[in-house]
Symmetry: C2
Amino acid sequence: MKHQISFGWLLLLSVTFFTTVSSAPGRLSPVHPKIKPASVSEDFETFFYTQTLDHFNYKPESYRTFQQRYIINSKHWGGAEENAPIFAYFGEEGPLDEDLPIIGFLNDNAPRLTLRINISKQHRFYGKSVPFGTLDEVINDENTRGYFSSAQAIADYAEVLVYLKEKLSAQNSPVIVIGGSYGGMLASWFRLKYPHIAIGALASSAPILYFDNITPQDGYYSVVTNDFREASESCYETIRNSWSVIDELASRPNGISFLSQRFKTCSPLGTSSELKDYLDTMYAVAAQYNHPPTYPVTVVCGGIDGAPEGTDILGRIFAGVVAYGGERSCYEMKKSNSASQTNLGWSWQTCSELVIPIGRGSNDTMFPSAPFSLNDFANSCMSKYGVPPRPHWVTTYYGGHDIKLVLQRFASNIIFSNGLRDPYSSGGVLEKISDSVLPIYTVNGSHCLDILTSSQSDPQWLVMQRQVEIEIIRGWFAKYYADLHTLQI
Amino acid sequence: MKHQISFGWLLLLSVTFFTTVSSAPGRLSPVHPKIKPASVSEDFETFFYTQTLDHFNYKPESYRTFQQRYIINSKHWGGAEENAPIFAYFGEEGPLDEDLPIIGFLNDNAPRLTLRINISKQHRFYGKSVPFGTLDEVINDENTRGYFSSAQAIADYAEVLVYLKEKLSAQNSPVIVIGGSYGGMLASWFRLKYPHIAIGALASSAPILYFDNITPQDGYYSVVTNDFREASESCYETIRNSWSVIDELASRPNGISFLSQRFKTCSPLGTSSELKDYLDTMYAVAAQYNHPPTYPVTVVCGGIDGAPEGTDILGRIFAGVVAYGGERSCYEMKKSNSASQTNLGWSWQTCSELVIPIGRGSNDTMFPSAPFSLNDFANSCMSKYGVPPRPHWVTTYYGGHDIKLVLQRFASNIIFSNGLRDPYSSGGVLEKISDSVLPIYTVNGSHCLDILTSSQSDPQWLVMQRQVEIEIIRGWFAKYYADLHTLQI
């Protein structure tokens, strides 16, 4: 009955996105921004579902529809007779396009899971699922962008899955939803809100507790700091001391120009903040995507620590920039004005509901103080979009406070996977909630590492993490099929 | 620590409502239409919460607010130090007004539950919680009525409860949500969607499975039929045979006028359907609210069976009308045109999302055939409101199919209470889902009987049902407080 089958898998666009308010990095993408995706496998077929614009209201406008893209690999699907499992990868903040083969978790583990079908769904308003125009157009339309919310997005997924199961006569096929980063949040929220549609969720690096005051504001940058400190105490000290050196220099006559020279910027710096933001982002991205085998944090610190003896602090920091970015004629430190979908969409999402309060106190990290001010943030959102954020809606709708108390006798079948070197792990679920709502984390892992394609060079702890996840999911299936049998469905 | 306290409780308006499409009765109100509520206890304080119009979108209009009424009895509340429980009664299809003391479950059981506070919340668009005008105005505004949905309603309750717990510093007080009929659906759905806000739900007579094709269409009228048949086989036979007699008479010259005479109608019947609808409704209401000590079904059958020997079928049926409604100079059989809130609101709700397919085949009940046609229903909704219903959204959003398979390893702390003589019990949860998601039903019970005020004359099975429910809820509290202690919250 159970064939060993080859299997492909999907993932979403890997662009970096930056919230342009506060110093928070706000990237919530499974893969490092520089990873270039390979081409789409031929096994993937693209479809469009005529999706309801507004699931929760019944105004005439609510009935408008748009074409939502989803992609299916059903090459090896043998039909619904065996109630074979369906895996659904949830789109997040980016187009569901060029980048299918990066997330390899399912691809690699297909034989062990006897997978049959997998579906990847594009989050509304991203990629080819933008209603009524380009994202640029709709994000500038206060009416249309108002429908761009997480609750509508998972309701979209619910509708598509119900439709597909019916179309495939696969009503009894167990569905597992999977996502990384923001997509991981959506996956765990989906299991909580739609248990009748998905029997389980793998939520990789999903910081569902980084809302309200559940996680300390400095959680993100504390982990970045720890990553660097564990890599090298001297590297950490150099970075920690560098900010005041930059400030001091910048305050001198021609100081900015001098900084531009020392950091070989492609165009002259306007302010020292441009340099500091660039460095801030570099450290954060290196820590978040501190993947084997290269381990970018080690690379940056290799540059900083490896500079010739006698090199001053700025010289060491620049050596870190070079080590990380490679030898170049100049370094572009200005923020790009290019409005990528992720920038556009994520900026709106964080300004409407996904308010992730990342901040820093004065002495808690290796970074300068930058506390998160909800007030300032709300004002900046108001001026951008004309409406204030609803910072408490996520915890009102999805929960988060006292999660163990709430979920230990409610809910089942959720894996919250994390790597503790991922700064977002500070807002992840790291405690065991119950026998089937489980954290699976690695001390040395980084952002969404477990759902990326495996490689010969993967360390043993990563191989183990994936194996454990697979075993847990196999256990869910076993129970599900036993239940199906017992209930004679 | 635990005081025995006196306690008051709330309930919602007890008007009957009729869907005006199909022959389905569609009443989903906890109490019989004729019950006259007593006045509001002085222990109840009324407040208004500035409620968000649209929780799920972020359009400028979504941020509009309206004043939502809630009522609190906190007379005996000793503060939050003891994490004393909060009971929240969910408003349903009617104003939350004159009618507080009818639903007596909590009132009667306060000492055993060591209750401290209870909150009753008015469903959006009913009573004094109508946004932007009278219900009549907003129900005629295609834009505003679009926000009148169950998902928005339970999101309202979530916001109010989060707000109140914070205001009262009662974050660790366990909340139990309670509702009857449609309010019972909302209570169970709330527990499923917002487990972080309510630790349990008592859903009395909530037909959450009367959607899609989960429950056979004839479920409702089959129970009505059984009720009459169990009361009296001859009564059942008389009713079953009466429809063709009426039809036959109506087809004769002056037949309608003759029927008007025989049934002493206050104004002449226009068609025989008026009479048949009147009788249909009388039987259904008698069965649904077949409460002790009078048992209306027995009353109707007493009239029918007790007519003098030799009385013809029409005479017997009329004797049933008299027995049920009392001796009068005439009987009003025309449907009232008065647009009660419940009529207005429920008609819209059933035409938008709450499509309950009640129908009858040709020989499955004591009623004439009247199959539910989704197509006809949708057309009638279109012509009334300009938008079609979304008949599958309830099961997509809340589930319902294979409920045991879905919830036995997910969810906890829900009581689905029913009385099997209630026609809506056919769409209720009657099987044990798990150790804490439980049906508590009585063979002889009727609609929402368990949450009505107890009386000296209550039969032992009803007393027992309430006791069992109380014991279960006490068990939830015990576990919750133990968890709180273990987790040192």
